[in-house]
């Protein structure tokens, strides 16, 4: 079950007009109604693509992951539990697709992170300087994430970006709750060290 952290993250990710929890929409997805599928895609795609990009570190593989995710969503649509928020389900599918893609390409995420990759359609308005600052900050975080090993990066992304609780992450990646907490803490420490080196 999604925990309080998860609910908060969902609320954070929500935007006006967001229909994640619209039961009628989810029932339409379940029936594979084209209109419902289109609306669901509009809501889910930015999240799926962003998570995929943060895992994989390049657009080409992120696109493959996104395609894989939506194929799986389509195939499993009739098994969607309309009484629950779909985000944990979608997060698990996305994570598994990323793991599969990582095994296939057999490589770490690319080191080069394009700051222009940030989607300005979802960015907070501000002066050009604000936008530049946000891009720069995001770029540093992305680079720190790239520095982590795959499991540690997954835990940080799932916890902080996707809003999954440690318990949910333990279930998704198949590790113990304690191990997830420990790895998360170490990952943050490593990222902090890495960022201090960059920002010095």
């Amino acid at each position: 079950m999604p925990g309080p952290e998860h609910t908060e993250a969902i609320q954070r990710a929500s935007t006006p007009g967001d229909t994640w929890e619209d039961r009628a929409l989810l029932e339409g997805v379940q029936r594979r109604d084209p209109d419902a599928l289109g609306r669901f895609f509009d809501v889910a795609f930015p999240y799926v693509y962003s998570v995929a990009f943060r895992f994989m570190g390049n657009h080409e593989t992120a696109e493959d992951v996104a395609q894989d995710v939506f194929l799986k969503v389509y195939n499993a649509a009739d098994r969607l539990d309309v009484t629950r928020h779909p985000k944990p389900w979608l997060t698990t599918i996305t994570y598994n697709a990323c793991r599969d893609a990582a095994r296939r390409v057999g490589a770490r995420p690319e080191d080069a992170v394009d700051a222009t990759a940030i989607d300005e359609r979802h960015a907070t308005p501000g002066t050009p300087e604000d936008v530049l600052m946000r891009k720069e900050q995001a770029r540093l975080i992305e680079r720190a994430l790239r520095d982590l090993d795959e499991d540690a990066r997954a835990i940080v992304i799932l916890h902080n970006y996707c809003g999954c609780s440690h318990e949910e992450i333990a279930h998704i990646i198949g590790a113990s709750h304690a191990a997830v907490r420990k790895r998360y803490s170490r990952a943050l420490q490593r990222m902090a060290v890495f960022l201090r080196g960059l920002e010095r």
Partner: protein, 269 residues
């Protein structure tokens, strides 16, 4: 924002910075294409769409396993085909003999191939000779009801079975039968044939196995199979009598007549 108890201020700040990461822009054309295919059910796995997507694909087990399995299956099929001995067919049949095959009336003709496992019933006064060329020759006499055995395989499946319910079956094995085994089940016992000329007679009193050449092992069940040598017969009567005694001329003459009539058509000379 997600609460982060037990973390240093630096770590809390870092967690928040990850949390605040903006969405990542995708290629608009890709997004629209994906949306369209998602909505209309036209998506395929990326690996299936682009052969270059998966650099490991060439080493996936199924890519070499499929042809290997195919070749193996073809080889197995060829071996099974070659293993099968010659089909059993009708060597001779009295004109217009109306037998029953699997309970249905049938008119047999010379050269007709008969299915192993089929039940054949030959009426009184008729006779059917069957042969698996070079392997075994049968005379199914009038008044006999039995199931037809398969032809033993060349390399495996070398033991074949049949049942004689009533009547008399005469048989002679050929050189290509060597190493094979025919087990004939009657209501009263088992006959294990490994190379011989014999007859098996089965009636309401019991079963009598007359051996003229070679040796057959005969018994009420598997545990008491014993060899019956040429010139002897083993009787297994339903009153419990079981014994080996010399073949009577009346039994011998019928088998000899069978051998003289069609023995040279076994096809192993």
């Amino acid at each position: 924002m997600t609460d982060h108890p037990g973390k240093s201020p630096d770590e809390q700040e870092l967690a928040k910075r990850v949390q605040d990461l903006p969405d990542v822009a995708s290629d608009d054309a890709f997004r629209e294409d994906l949306r369209s295919r998602f909505v209309h059910g036209g998506l395929e796995s990326p690996a299936a769409e682009t052969g270059t997507y998966d650099p490991e694909a060439g080493r996936r087990w199924w890519q070499w396993a499929v042809p290997v399995v195919g070749v193996a299956a073809a080889a197995i099929a060829a071996i099974i085909l070659l293993n099968g001995g010659p089909a059993m067919h009708v060597l001779d049949v009295a004109d217009g003999s109306a037998v029953r095959i699997d309970g249905a009336p049938a008119i047999l003709h010379t050269g007709q191939v008969l299915r192993a496992g089929a039940e054949i019933e030959v009426p009184e006064g008729e006779r059917v000779d069957l042969v698996a060329r070079g392997v075994v020759l049968y005379e199914v006499t009038g008044g006999t009801r039995m199931t037809l055995p398969a032809t033993p395989g060349r390399w495996f499946n070398r033991t074949v079975v049949c049942s004689v319910f009533v009547g008399e079956l005469r048989l002679k094995t050929g050189v290509r039968f060597a190493g094979s085994e025919l087990r004939v089940y009657t209501p009263d016992g088992i006959v294990e044939v490994t190379g011989t000329l014999l007859s098996i007679q089965c009636d309401a009193e019991g079963t009598c196995v007359c051996v003229l050449e070679g040796t057959a092992r005969v018994g009420v069940n598997d545990d008491d199979l014993e060899p019956v040598t040429p010139g002897n017969r083993k009787i297994m009567l339903r009153d419990g009598t079981v014994k080996i005694i010399p073949v009577k001329p009346m039994h011998r003459d019928g088998v000899l007549e069978f051998n003289e009539r069609v023995g040279n058509r076994l096809g192993d000379r």
